[in-house]
């Protein structure tokens, strides 16, 4: 089997995973802000840090291809 094709599929899977992860973080942050609007700033900061960490994995996958 063609190895490069498999690499692409693997990278795609990782990107899907990263997308789901960032979606989860964003959604949960929305819920949290809706519950406690006064904590918006803190929630946003935590959300951005977590999203950035996941994004790093996604980019690592793209660059490995």
């Amino acid at each position: 089997m063609d190895i490069t094709g498999l690499e692409m599929i693997g990278a795609g899977l990782i990107v899907i995973g990263a997308g789901i992860g960032i979606g989860q973080i964003g959604g949960k942050a929305m819920e949290a802000i809706a519950r406690q609007p006064e904590a918006t700033g803190k929630i946003q900061t935590a959300m951005l840090i977590a999203a950035a960490l996941i994004e790093g994995i996604g980019f690592a996958a793209l660059f490995a291809v």
Binding site: T45, I49, A52, G56, A60, F63
Partner: protein, 365 residues
């Protein structure tokens, strides 16, 4: 009130103009030549993207093909500095945009894929099995496009903050002019990034570094989106340097507790301590490494996507598809403006987080 409105209008106009000129930049090269085959256009767009993403030896503002089918570059040359058994300095105009061979003291140099190689008199480049050149590369200290822009950003920042500081002195601590523009950002970095992550006691030591990297990354990213199109963060060397600063500062300002938590984690059984030590030690290197990759990959990916969508305009070549991709590129451009600030923010806040770990005091044990 009226003044505010006009500033908004001017900003909007500037943004529009910069956008149109980025699109124009592509159009010059492609429409003038009017290639009939689609494959030609695609490879051309790919080349254009590669050219934009990579560093270069000339400050090339724009290029186009004239009526005689000759490629014309508008820009200015930069000095090339090589160390190859002695210092060699010459102007990059002698390369003729990578087409010509340069002869310096019986040595021949050639640009191949944006790297300078030493060649023989005919300029042959030898390849190994993986199609990588095997010619020797001289040590390269050239003032490239990115280096020039780093100097420019350095000067901009220097005069910006000098003016800001002088404004405070003159008006007895009241911000004026540049100070009014920057004070909210500086205060935001202090109150929302430095103090919560590092702590009231130690944050002052790190403020100068945090402010510097925040503004440096932000201004550099904004320059990348401007019509000049020089994006310094597209080179991994620059982000590597930024990350290594964070690593060095974390390592050299770390307290005893930080090292104790790495090498001999308190509160866990001894076999676990032995397993944890190498993992934690590796973690100290992975942290700046992820900082480097994140900034580099975000900016590079953003620019490639933006350029590809602008390139789609010429592939579609009808009004519906082209206006659609123009709209897409416009929206993506706004998103990139957000990403420019966001990446600077994330780099700063993660650096602050790492510094906070280094100086954290554990009273609970």
């Amino acid at each position: 009130m009226r003044r505010k409105f006009s500033i908004k209008k001017i900003t909007f106009l500037l943004f529009l103009v910069s956008f149109v000129s980025v699109a124009q930049h592509n159009e010059d090269g492609d429409v003038a030549n009017a290639p009939k085959k689609e494959k030609d256009l695609k490879t051309k767009i790919k080349e254009e993207i590669n050219h934009h993403v990579l560093d270069s030896y000339d400050f090339d503002l724009y290029s186009f093909t004239d009526d005689n089918g000759k490629k014309v570059h508008r820009g200015f040359p930069l000095p090339v500095i090589l160390w190859d058994n002695g210092l060699k300095v010459f102007s990059s105009s002698r390369f003729h945009y990578g087409e010509a061979l340069v002869k310096i003291d019986e040595n021949y140099y050639k640009v191949y894929h944006n790297k300078i190689y030493k060649t023989d008199a005919e300029g042959t480049i030898n390849y190994d099995a993986k199609h990588k050149p095997t010619n020797t590369k001289p040590l390269d200290f050239s003032i490239t496009k990115s280096v020039v822009m780093i100097f420019v950003v350095f000067l901009i920042m220097f005069f910006m903050f000098k003016r800001m500081a002088r404004g405070y002195q003159k008006n007895n601590g009241m911000p004026k002019g540049m100070g009014r523009l920057l004070e909210p950002i500086v205060l935001y970095i202090r109150d929302d990034i430095a103090i919560p992550n590092i702590g009231e006691k130690h944050y002052k030591r790190y403020m100068s570094y945090l402010l510097t990297i925040f503004f440096f990354i932000w201004i550099v990213n904004l320059f990348g989106l401007s019509p000049l199109g020089v994006n310094i963060n597209n080179s991994i060397a620059v982000t590597f340097a930024l990350a290594i600063f964070t690593y060095i500062i974390t390592t050299f300002t770390a307290k005893k507790e930080y090292w104790k938590h790495i090498f001999w984690m308190p509160g866990v059984p001894v076999p676990m301590k032995i397993i944890l030590a190498p993992i934690e030690l590796l973690g100290t290197i992975i942290k700046p490494f992820s900082l480097m990759i994140r900034l580099y990959a975000n900016i590079t990916a953003g620019h490639i996507v933006l350029y590809s969508i602008i390139g789609l305009m010429f592939i579609f070549n009808n009004w519906l598809g082209s206006s659609l991709s123009f709209f897409l590129a416009f929206v993506l451009g706004i998103l990139e403006l957000l990403v420019a600030a966001l990446q600077a923010y994330i780099f700063t806040i993660l650096s602050a987080l790492y510094f906070g770990m280094a100086v954290e005091e554990h009273n609970e044990h």
